[in-house]
């Protein structure tokens, strides 16, 4: 079958050529963040430092699982995910190496990781999105626990399979205990809460008129509003300190088998530079993690965020297993 053999040989040649290409790069990053957001920043890093970067884009969770599966042979130098849970899973499995203190020093308490194995690169808050047309702002819920009341029956949406939602449930378990969390979950289900795939679907479901409230992250709606200022959805925090206002992070760590530790550290330091931080908040609508960078005007101010956010250590978000077990128990997973 000479006709069939030729493309195969071509493919082998191509494969070898591409492997050679990959070897010429000096830093390999597994990024669970969107390419359109990240690549401009990576290009800037290369322009400033001369360090070539090859990025593997994918889902945060799948890339974390990939690093676990690769084990000692992992070609990754840096893992950059958008959920403290994934970073926690890699830390617990011993796949991340300790970062130098210089990287983590000076970050506000809500962005600190006690283990020092990974560092937050940007922050995002949990909010309650709502329809200004169908929601009376004077009857605003003070706490996420109020949503089990009859007034919210069938009107609230959530995304139980989403990493940010699960991190929020983990925090609730740690702060309020498993029995309270379980009865809240069951109360929500009994109150006909609507489940969606992810945060984007939630925001769109409010616009479409399917639901009136949604438990989501703060930056998705802001992107819709940027494209269409008349988009019929708004968002707000619960009362200060309520667990429903949890602050979560996107962050990065250095894979323990990395042979490019210097370049990897420079990459993380670059993500914490005021240039990169300004980009996260201006273009991605997230909160900067370092002092001195002004958050995007569309965001609630940093002081308001600090006041609203509950006092939760991000390291506790590592305990995802208990949350998943609870979610399975109540039949959500």
């Amino acid at each position: 079958m000479p006709l069939l053999r030729r493309p195969l040989a071509l493919a082998i040649a191509l494969a070898i050529a591409l492997t050679g290409l990959a070897a010429a790069q000096s830093l390999t990053v597994y990024a669970g963040r969107g390419e359109a957001l990240v690549q401009p920043l990576v290009d800037r890093f290369t322009a400033e430092t001369g360090i070539g970067v090859a990025v593997r884009y994918g889902g945060t969770a799948e890339l974390a699982v990939l690093i676990l599966e690769e084990g000692r042979a992992s070609p990754a130098d840096v893992f950059w995910g958008q959920d403290a849970g994934a970073l926690g899973a890699l830390s617990l499995a011993g796949r991340l190496r300790a970062l130098p203190d210089a990287l983590t020093a000076g970050l506000p308490g809500i962005y600190a990781s006690r283990g020092g194995l990974w560092v937050a690169t940007s922050g995002r808050a949990r909010v309650l999105a709502f329809s200004p047309e169908r929601v009376d702002p004077t009857a605003w819920p003070a706490s996420v626990f109020d949503l089990t009341a009859p007034a919210y029956r069938g009107r609230v949406g959530w995304a139980p399979t989403n990493g940010s939602f699960q991190a929020f449930v983990t925090a609730m378990r740690v702060v309020h205990g498993a029995p309270v969390t379980e009865s809240w979950l069951r109360g929500m289900i009994a109150n006909d809460v609507q489940a969606y795939r992810n945060n984007t679907s939630l925001v769109e479901a409010i616009a479409a008129g399917e639901i009136d409230y949604a438990l989501t992250n703060n930056y998705y709606l802001l992107r819709y509003l940027e494209n269409d200022p008349s988009f019929p959805v708004a968002q707000g925090f619960f009362a200060d300190g309520d667990i429903g206002n949890l602050v979560n992070v996107a962050g990065g760590g250095i894979v323990i088998t990395s042979r490019n530790v210097d370049a990897a550290e420079r990459f993380l330091a670059f993500l914490l530079s005021s240039e990169a931080q300004a980009y996260f908040t201006d273009a991605v609508f997230e909160y900067p993690v370092v002092a001195g960078v002004t958050p995007n005007a569309r965001l609630v101010g940093f002081d308001a965020l600090l006041a609203a956010s509950p006092d939760v250590d991000l390291d506790v978000l590592e305990d995802l297993d208990g949350t998943l077990e609870l979610l399975r128990e109540v039949g959500l997973l």
Partner: protein
């Protein structure tokens, strides 16, 4: 013949061994608690009823259309055939997204026509979305079978006094059986494995539960168990298909060669037939085109965007094309073994190919990561391994049409060639291959189109920095940047449509 087939068989066994290794890592008590609970049962029932619904709807869409394209004098048959296959190229979530954005307060129908309809979701939403882009699998299979149907059978039946309906039931339908079964099988397995559509439609099926295990639990053990249950379900379906297919004879036994197919004159029925074809095609292509068009208008791409589309396109084609050719070669040898060689293992390899298609892509990718790093580390994260993964995953797609065609070709054609002194290999290529060329080409095209839009295998196995069109679409839509994703999605659809057009005109020149 035996070598590519055994390679394919072994390739499929790799992920099976991996899943078993992972599954038995866990302690039995945990496994029992995780697996034997009411939710597993609910998921199973949901999955089975979803599969049944999609099989029924795709049959209603594909079979009449295939008959019209092959056996009627309907005008513009060539164009309708091309358009009917294009939906294969459309990424599933684009179809689901298109359906969803029709309804609701912000939806197309409300904004443009002022008709407020709820957004489709749940069981019927999932059935509709899945059917809209899987029906071409059945269409291609049935079409190939109808093209290969020997008209003399029908003539004999007519001479024996069979009327239209009786003829269809006792002559045409039995001949279409292998094609229907192969098409249904592929669709059923596709539905078992899909998670994008069911997630968007908020319908809880098995595959989605598996995906969630990897995505949220970082837990490879429970996911392995769920995958094994899904594979057991697959085995059940494949075995049923095998039993139904049986060892019947579908080839002509008399002497002489086959004549051209009979054509039915539609006459006054033609407008109705056109309306039917138009409905199917408008729903399957029109809706997604509308959504992609809308996104494109929202944020028209600039020159840099088009450059990166071109670059991603070249990369995608550089893996999809070799994968399609390699898959077709392997499929030919597997189908040949299964239909011609009466070895005990030959049917087994064919069945294994279907398992390869049914293994959840994330499990398959992780299995190849695990084995390649331990046995052939120099292959890890090369396009070569990625192509291998495509072959394992898509082999079943190409086997269906080829097997149906081989069943319709009498073995004595090849025996005659060999009696004239041809060596077996040459005999196959000179006597049998010309007859099965069309389904081989169709199978190759099918794999090419599916490989062009493949996502999970690609982003876990491709060389780092090797961003295909599908990866670029994914990394944008996952951040809700739908407008930025549109040009890449459009490139997938346009390229595949062009390719299908070329193929079908090539077929017509026979």
């Amino acid at each position: 013949m035996l070598i590519p087939a055994s390679l394919a068989g072994i390739g499929t066994l790799v992920p099976l061994v991996y899943l078993a290794l992972r599954a038995f890592e866990a302690d039995p008590v945990t496994v029992q608690r995780l697996v034997w609970r009411p939710r597993t049962w609910t998921l199973l029932v949901n999955t089975v009823s979803l599969t049944g619904g999609v099989m029924a709807l795709t049959t209603l869409m594909a079979v009449p259309l295939a008959w019209l394209m092959v056996r009627s004098d309907l005008r513009w048959r060539r164009w309708i055939t091309i358009l009917a296959v294009v939906p294969l190229a459309i990424p599933g979530y684009v179809v689901a997204y298109a359906l969803i954005s029709l309804g609701g307060n912000q939806g197309f129908l409300t904004q443009v026509l002022g008709v407020a309809v709820p957004r489709p979701s749940g069981y019927w939403g999932a059935v509709a979305a899945l059917s809209l882009y899987t029906y071409p699998y059945l269409f291609l299979n049935v079409r190939a079978a109808l093209l290969g149907l020997d008209p003399s059978l029908e003539e004999s039946a007519r001479s024996l006094g069979y009327g239209g309906r009786a003829m269809f039931r006792s002559v045409i339908l039995p001949q279409l059986r292998p094609a229907l079964l192969a098409g249904w099988l592929v669709i059923a397995l596709y539905v078992l494995g899909d998670f994008g559509v069911v997630a968007l439609m908020r319908y809880e099926a098995f595959s989605y539960a598996i995906y969630l295990q990897y995505a949220s639990a970082f837990d490879r053990t429970y996911a392995a168990w769920l995958s094994l249950i899904l594979l057991a379900l697959t085995l059940g379906i494949v075995a049923t298909e095998g039993r139904l297919l049986g060892r019947r004879r579908y080839a002509r036994v008399g002497s002489g060669s086959q004549r051209a197919v009979l054509v039915t004159r539609l006459g006054a029925w033609a407008p109705l037939a056109h309306a039917y074809a138009a409905t199917v095609i408008l729903a399957a292509i029109g809706l997604p085109a509308l959504v992609l068009g809308y996104w494109m208008v929202q944020a028209p791409p600039d020159a840099a965007a088009w450059r990166s589309v071109t670059e991603a396109f070249v990369r995608t084609a550089s893996v999809a094309a070799p994968a399609a050719l390699a898959t077709a070669a392997a499929a030919m040898s597997v189908a040949y073994l299964a239909t011609r060689v009466q070895l005990p293992g030959s049917r087994l390899i064919e069945r294994l190919a279907y398992l390869g298609y049914a293994i959840p892509p994330v499990s398959l990718a992780l299995a190849l990561v695990f084995f390649s790093l331990r046995s052939v580390p120099w292959l890890y994260q090369t396009t070569f391994l990625l192509i291998g993964a495509y072959v394992i995953s898509f082999l079943a797609l190409a086997i269906g049409p080829i097997r149906s065609a081989l069943l319709q070709v009498p073995a004595r054609l090849e025996e005659a060639a060999r009696s004239l002194g041809r060596r077996p290999f040459t005999a196959f290529f000179q006597a049998t291959f010309p007859v099965i060329r069309r389904p081989v080409v169709a199978g190759t095209a099918l794999v090419l189109m599916v490989a062009m839009k493949e996502l999970p295998l690609t982003y876990l196995l491709a060389p780092t920095g090797f961003h295909t069109l599908a990866v670029r679409v994914f990394t944008r839509t996952s951040e809700a940047m739908l407008a930025e994703a549109a040009p890449f999605a459009l490139a997938i659809v346009l390229f595949s449509s062009l390719f299908v057009g070329l193929l079908i005109s090539y077929e017509g020149r026979r």
